[in-house]
Subunit: 373 residues, 3 copies
């Protein structure tokens, strides 16, 4: 890691995938539970602060709370509590250089800020990404029938996407990414909705036909479709979330001209980069792992750039709940981009004009173009 | 990336897998279509020049056309047109330091140079690799029967391999690499050939039994058998092309003493390196990704060398159509080998005598030995 | 690779997974056969000394035999023979800085030292890890019945684990890692044991139900359970040994509070690191590949640390037979840890106090805590 290139340090960023932030305070356990994808601290292991993201918090976040780098975790948390959640959130969110946040509000919304509140807190623009499965589950909960589901869902999706800039599928978490390329026919959807109703509360969607129907609804509306891919918490079957499993689906949808965004992707980021190269409508990011990997984030970004064209790479934090994660996601993305470009410049493998242009593509231009911000 | 070690800069290379070059000129779209594995430029993305291979063309190819490094793409293409395809091809092909090219002429042969023409153009030796599936498809097209296929194919293969140095299978593209270790029996082949005839024109082979029969025909002739593995265009189901899927086949064929060559392998190059270590007859390269990954090529070669013995690593470009790709493939392989050895020498992890010897193995000695050139 | 940090050079190590060492001498073929995971030297390839581990032997082991670095392989082997196996073993084993060796004595025990002999030779503590499948196979060989197997196995396992610190499963080698999360019921075990008896000599276990029963027997005894994962010899189907296949099993066992140790993991080490992050009871190492990858070992350790908390990373050599491998495993683990921490210190990404503490966790504290040494 070297000092940031000036034009990367000042690069405006569009965070094309993140979530709201927690308003309430957090004790040590609560903080560690939000820090990584582990559900909680292990009685068999040691603190989650003893990992690259923990070191990154103490290195890169402590100064924003007026503390020296590498301050012990307990002192960090004490100062955090002292300042209060509102001030902490403001400090971290306003220093990111992110001009636009695209928020997926579909997971645990009751514990997090909503979009307008987030815009206010971050002094930036905030846009909605609609989580498809949440819409469908709400439709089931509100009461529908097998035969009526498609129309009810369509109406509700229209309502919720009226001001949204894209949709997102969490099929990866529910059935994996082995999705057929075919659009499911009306009778298949009716049958699947009937099965879902028969399963009853809480109507948690996990049916390949229904996920597929939802995704096609997004494609029909020509809204960019985001897919959770790869890295996530212990609830995901990671071996079913290799983006290569989407190959058939991507082949079937390439001619529509609707962007498909592969989120996170680690440890399959090279596979995602391959898809972003060979399919015209596919884009990729390395959100979530960027802040988790701390000082290793630049290495992961570099692997992604082996095949991903700069016109197909986006920035996201996938920050959730903890204000530190927006800051770290942005700072470590800048670090990775800067290190990569600096090494290329040092080897005379590209010109500075190129470096500035490519950084702008990944930092904000691709997202602005794709989501028509 | 550091300056090349002298003995790597001057190392004669055998390119054990490439294709012919285009004779006719190319406009910008045509050039970008041949540049990477993307079929075409995306209206949603930006230019394919904005990727590591695009930067590598402007860095490493421009000087051979008398242009400064990093010249804009349009100026590069204008100069290329001005010089004409024949002169451009000559300049790139004669500066590679490749003494022998092993050409797979089985894909789109009508648009590319044939082997003798290629030898003339490159002022080097050119040898034939016979694409097994092409031979079989020609036999079907020429007219055969289910029962007659095996003999007709054998006769045609004998004719075409009379002066060839090896054969190649593209089973990966058609059925994936999950091939059984068993040699198919005569009745299985007859039945499979019958099914293929029933499918009719264009007789595109995609039948696990037939691919396997073809491969065994190569093994019977004791010709080195190349496999497409991993990275390719959007037509490949990459998740079915992990070389580990060949494990059963490799276990079944190890005692024959016939070399099996795993081509490309990215992003499964570490898996291929493992197979090259544990199976006596397995060899691997990282062609195709070497020029695609530009300044990241050295990192990929280094990962491959974690397990692949130097006696099992080969050089290839997998260049197709575009003269720049032979030049880049050779230059970036040298860069990767040199960076790797230079770092080892700097750490005193090997002697210079070793470095020279190991470079020669990978650069040409292994290929010369395996293909009996 | 840079000079070792002092506190890493002097770090006491616990080798939580290795095997016994050969007492008898070795000719060149015998040495090469033990050097890597290849069964033997290939007549088609060149010497296995021409690989990173071969270079590492000549660089890092030669000085312990009073030879200059990079001495040719034949001179190295001649000096080795001259000193005799006993002296060679003593020199390598006593210089590792390993205080405790955890020995899996279940593979080819007749050719290797037993645990007490190993303790004497290494002047360190040596502990037993019981290979579950070996116990079961011995029970079948000694004579049992389908219905009697569970009790006979339980009694024998109690006897053998009386002084052991953990158990190990090689299910990966036999049926792959796609293990169900359910504990098999008594009737399933009886039926599976009956099938195994029907198969007869040599009673080589390869039955998903039986492997699972064995593993649950270890969990019931609250003994840490080691799993072979990933890299191994040509007998393994590597594509069935991705640790992600254990996800369901890990989800089903996380609440027991019994440690599960994923061994080796390469080339799936990032996947193992993910599991170590998200599951409270999961720990990982990169043994076996550490010495095989020679100067690339630091790169592999760095990838593992992207997600694995320092409290979940262990050290092992997985050395087998060849005294050099204990030395190389320890030396290259130190090299990787030191390089990683040195780079972090240089970037001011962690403090020296942290670096010392994290090194101790991985070097010995985690193992001491997990195995209650």
């Amino acid at each position: 890691m070297t000092a940031l290139l000036d034009f990367v340090a000042e690069l405006p960023l569009v965070d094309h995938h993140c979530h709201g932030v927690r308003i309430s305070g957090l004790d040590r356990l609560g903080f560690e539970q939000l820090l990584t994808e582990a559900d909680t601290v292990s009685p068999l292991g040691t603190s989650l602060f003893d990992s690259l993201i923990g070191l990154a918090v103490r290195e890169r976040c402590a100064p924003l709370l007026d503390l020296p780098k590498h301050v012990p975790a307990d002192e960090y948390l004490q100062r955090r509590a002292e300042l209060g959640a509102a001030e902490v959130n403001r400090r971290f969110l306003r220093g990111t250089g992110i001009t636009d946040y695209l928020l997926d509000g579909g997971f645990l919304p009751e514990s997090l800020t909503a979009t307008p509140e987030f815009a206010e807190l971050s002094a930036a623009r905030a846009h909605d990404i609609v989580r498809l499965e949440q819409v469908a589950e709400d439709v089931f909960r509100a009461g529908t029938t097998g035969a009526g589901f498609a129309a009810d869902f369509a109406a509700e999706l229209d309502r919720r996407t009226a001001t949204a800039v894209g949709v997102k599928s969490v099929a990866a978490y529910r059935v994996g990414l082995e999705l057929s390329g075919d659009r499911p026919g009306p009778s298949e959807v009716t049958a699947a909705a009937g099965r879902q109703l028969a399963r009853g509360e809480p109507f948690r969607l996990a049916d390949e036909v229904l996920h597929r129907h939802l995704i096609w609804a997004g494609l029909d509306r020509r809204l960019p479709v985001q897919f959770h891919v790869g890295y996530g918490d212990s609830d995901v079957d990671l071996h079913r979330c290799d983006p290569l499993r989407l190959t058939g689906f991507l082949r079937a949808t390439r001619d529509l001209g609707v962007p498909v965004l592969l989120l996170h992707n680690y440890p399959f980021h090279r596979n995602a980069a391959y898809l972003a190269q060979v399919f015209e409508h596919v884009f990729a990011d390395v959100g979530l792992i960027t802040h988790n990997a701390g000082l290793r984030a630049p290495a992961i970004l570099a692997e992604t750039l082996e095949l991903a064209p700069f016109g197909k790479l986006l920035f996201s934090t996938d920050a959730f709940g903890l204000a530190e994660l927006y800051h770290l996601g942005a700072a470590l993305f800048r670090q990775g981009l800067s290190d990569f470009l600096r090494a290329g410049l040092a080897a005379d493998a590209l010109s500075e004009v190129d470096a500035v242009r490519l950084a702008a593509l990944a930092g904000h231009e691709n997202a602005t173009r794709i989501y028509r911000l």
